[in-house]
């Protein structure tokens, strides 16, 4: 008897992957037809690099979605890590040490969101929005010195950080893409092969059942939000190397694109279904879509509007709740 639901689950999972994959193929065909130089080496490399930023920032969002929460603080943590790291390095703290400080602070802030929202699961979105806003404001106050606003920070970025995102590296692709690949494989293995990863699926599927199965749901919830902030901080620090200067608004695009990537990939926002492999597909979908839209010389604002419209049908497909009559 147990085989039937299993087949259904497998089908649902594969179906989602297939859908995101088909969308990617359609987009790639559309891109090669409309955008000149779509297949050129430079364009592919640049797309991969841009995808890697989004991909790293989306690791946390995928984990949060799997347990049935959403993290709106990612964009703010990206911006905060970006300016904080530059300021710390500028203040004479060794680079490695500064990175460790930023990562620890990010883990603490993410953990704080997790602790607060663990009893307020319905309000996770609002909690993370509040914590994120307060964090970015606070970091900007701390970073700004007399007469200099904290929004943009000047400073020297070490050359190795810049070469992390450099397109003409000896290995052909930007080293940052390899960082993403390593993180992606670790995340997928973490979700599939460790008891914590399986526990996250159990939690997202059914909170009460997970508790009865002795899964420490509260600790895992906090861990997920902590990891999410750490990944956002990693993305923020890598972006520092890419832009070469600190800017608090550097994470703004990630406020919603992380959610869009998770949704397009097919990970359920209500928890329990999906995985990071799907999100990677979603990230590629989004990146190619953005390339195509830029090819039509649409402004960033128009792209944002189209993205918003794109989310709606996907949400209607993937995040529906059952009719009340089914809940008796």
């Amino acid at each position: 008897m147990a085989i039937l639901p299993r087949i259904r689950t497998t089908l649902a999972y594969q179906g989602r992957a297939a859908m995101a994959g088909v969308m990617l193929i359609v987009l790639v065909v559309l891109g090669s037809a409309t955008v000149s130089g779509f297949w050129s080496l430079e364009s592919l490399r640049a797309n991969l690099l841009i995808a890697s930023f989004l991909g790293i920032a989306t690791i946390g969002q995928t984990l949060c979605a799997l347990v049935g929460g959403l993290d709106l603080s990612i964009a703010f943590v990206v911006g905060a890590a970006n300016i904080a790291l530059l300021r710390l390095m500028d203040g004479g703290i060794p680079v490695g040490f500064a990175i460790v400080i930023v990562l620890i602070l990010a883990a603490a802030v993410g953990g704080l969101s997790g602790v607060i929202s663990s009893n307020l699961r319905g309000a996770t979105l609002v909690v993370t929005l509040g914590v994120g806003t307060a964090l970015l404001g606070l970091v900007q106050i701390l970073v700004s010195s007399s007469g200099v606003s904290g929004g943009t920070v000047e400073g020297t970025v070490p050359s190795w950080m810049q070469s992390l995102t450099s397109l003409d590296s000896p290995i052909g692709i930007a080293p940052c893409v390899i960082v993403w690949a390593v993180l992606a494989i670790s995340t997928i293995l973490f979700l599939r092969r460790t008891w914590i990863g399986r526990g996250l699926y159990a939690m997202g599927g059914n909170q009460v059942a997970a508790e009865r199965a002795m899964i420490p749901t509260r600790s895992l919830w906090i861990l997920v939000f902590s990891l999410s902030a750490v990944m956002a901080a990693v993305a923020g620090m890598i972006l520092l190397g890419f832009t070469g200067g600190g800017y608090s608004g550097v994470g703004d695009p990630y406020l919603f694109t992380t959610i869009a990537a998770v949704l397009i990939g097919g990970t359920s926002l209500v928890g329990g279904r999906g995985g990071y492999g799907l999100t990677v597909l979603g990230v590629f979908d989004l990146t190619v879509l953005q390339t195509i839209l830029s090819g039509f010389s649409l402004s960033a604002a128009a792209q944002e509007a189209i993205l918003g419209l794109l989310i709606l049908p996907l949400a209607a497909l993937y995040v529906r709740s059952p009719h009340p009559r089914m809940e008796i």
Binding site: A123, G130, G132, G137, Q207, A305
Partner: protein
């Protein structure tokens, strides 16, 4: 008679499903939802009295009125959505207000609509239109309100900048004068009072009672014969009226059109909603709480404005708003802890229940 039994049934269901005692407890708890906004209001008024007594002059009060009015009305709008629950946080409110702001200043004069009556009608009509589209998607496809309004935030925010890349234009004179009014007995006050009366009337209708029942427990509402789809769309129609009114106030305050400035109203309005004691699980939120919460937010930025933060002023407002939002959530959950711990994981995502 029937309606009152329904709402009593909702109240009785809230904490536990047993006994008269828990019903009294729940009624006592309902009153506690106003403690936080009132206490904060009193503290902020006291601080304002010390730091910026100019607030209590006729001019100061008038500035406060028009300054706080957009947020007050915007918060009332999303209060209806919060009541309709579950997890009914409307993130699209800021960009929606901006869109109507642009329409009032830029598009409507093009077709010759500048008179008060016509502009009011168009603003409210647009507010209802945006909200009905959102409500229809939420009701028909049963997608979480948060996800739909998130998508609408993106869509409208992008659309606003496409429609109007740079701040431009000027509002019709009668509307622009609202921002520079020097007498307390101004149109702003009348519109505000009119909106409160409207809210009081609407919140006594059967539709609104059904919205409350649906938010508290959609299943109970369904088996009680409430038609969920029209009720939810009705909640969004009510919200749309207040979105329109809020945009009018916002345009009066600004005097022109700005494609991006209004988006920050989302965070402020959600914070005001939470301070006002609204339960994000649905079913419980008060108009008075929303009004107080929004006034609190305005007072916080007023008090912060009396310090000389210079370049950092906007960051301090961010820290204060975000911090107050989180603290208000914690206080709210503390005041209703039984309820939240046991019900929220289930209520937020009904999908969990059936799987």
């Amino acid at each position: 008679m029937r309606a009152s039994t329904l709402s009593e049934a909702v109240q009785a269901k809230m904490p536990e499903r047993s006994g008269v005692e828990s019903r009294y407890k729940s009624m006592a708890r309902r009153q506690t939802s106003l403690v936080t906004p009132f206490a904060l209001f009193a503290v902020l008024l006291a601080i304002s009295g010390v730091r910026g007594p100019a607030l209590f002059t006729a001019n100061g009060l008038d500035g406060a009125l028009i300054g706080a009015a957009p947020l007050v009305l915007g918060t009332l709008a999303i209060t209806t959505i919060a009541i309709a629950g579950p997890a009914g946080v409307d993130l699209s409110i800021g960009p929606a207000m901006t869109l109507i702001n642009i329409e009032i200043v830029i598009e409507l004069p093009k077709i010759g609509v500048t008179g008060p009556v016509a502009v009011f009608a168009c603003a409210i009509g647009l507010g209802i239109l945006v909200q009905v589209v959102i409500g229809t998607i939420v009701a028909l496809f049963r997608v979480s309100t948060v996800v739909v309004t998130l998508a609408f935030y993106l869509f409208l925010d992008g659309l606003n900048t496409v429609l109007l890349p740079e701040p431009a234009g000027s509002a019709p004179t009668w509307l622009a004068n609202w921002g520079s009014e020097s007498s307390l007995l101004s149109p702003v006050l009348y519109v505000l009072i009119g909106s409160f009366v409207l809210w009081a009337l609407i919140s006594r209708t059967t539709l609104f009672r059904n919205v409350r029942l649906m938010g508290a427990d959609a299943r109970t509402a369904f088996v009680s014969g409430v038609h969920l789809v029209p009720t939810r769309i009705g909640a969004h129609v009510i919200a749309g009226i207040f979105v329109g009114l809020a945009s009018l106030m916002y345009t009066g305050l600004l005097g022109s059109a700005d494609p991006t400035a209004g988006s920050s109203y989302t965070l402020s309005a959600v914070t005001a909603l939470v301070i006002g004691g609204a339960s994000l699980a649905g079913g419980r939120a008060k108009g008075l709480g929303a009004i107080l919460g929004a006034t609190d937010i305005w007072l916080i930025s007023y008090v912060l404005g009396t310090f000389n933060f210079g370049l950092n002023a906007s960051y301090w407002i961010e820290v204060a708003t975000g911090g107050v939002l989180v603290v208000a959530l914690l206080v709210g959950s503390f005041l209703a802890s039984e309820d939240l711990v046991h019900r929220w994981p289930m209520r937020m995502f009904p999908g969990n229940r059936s799987r």
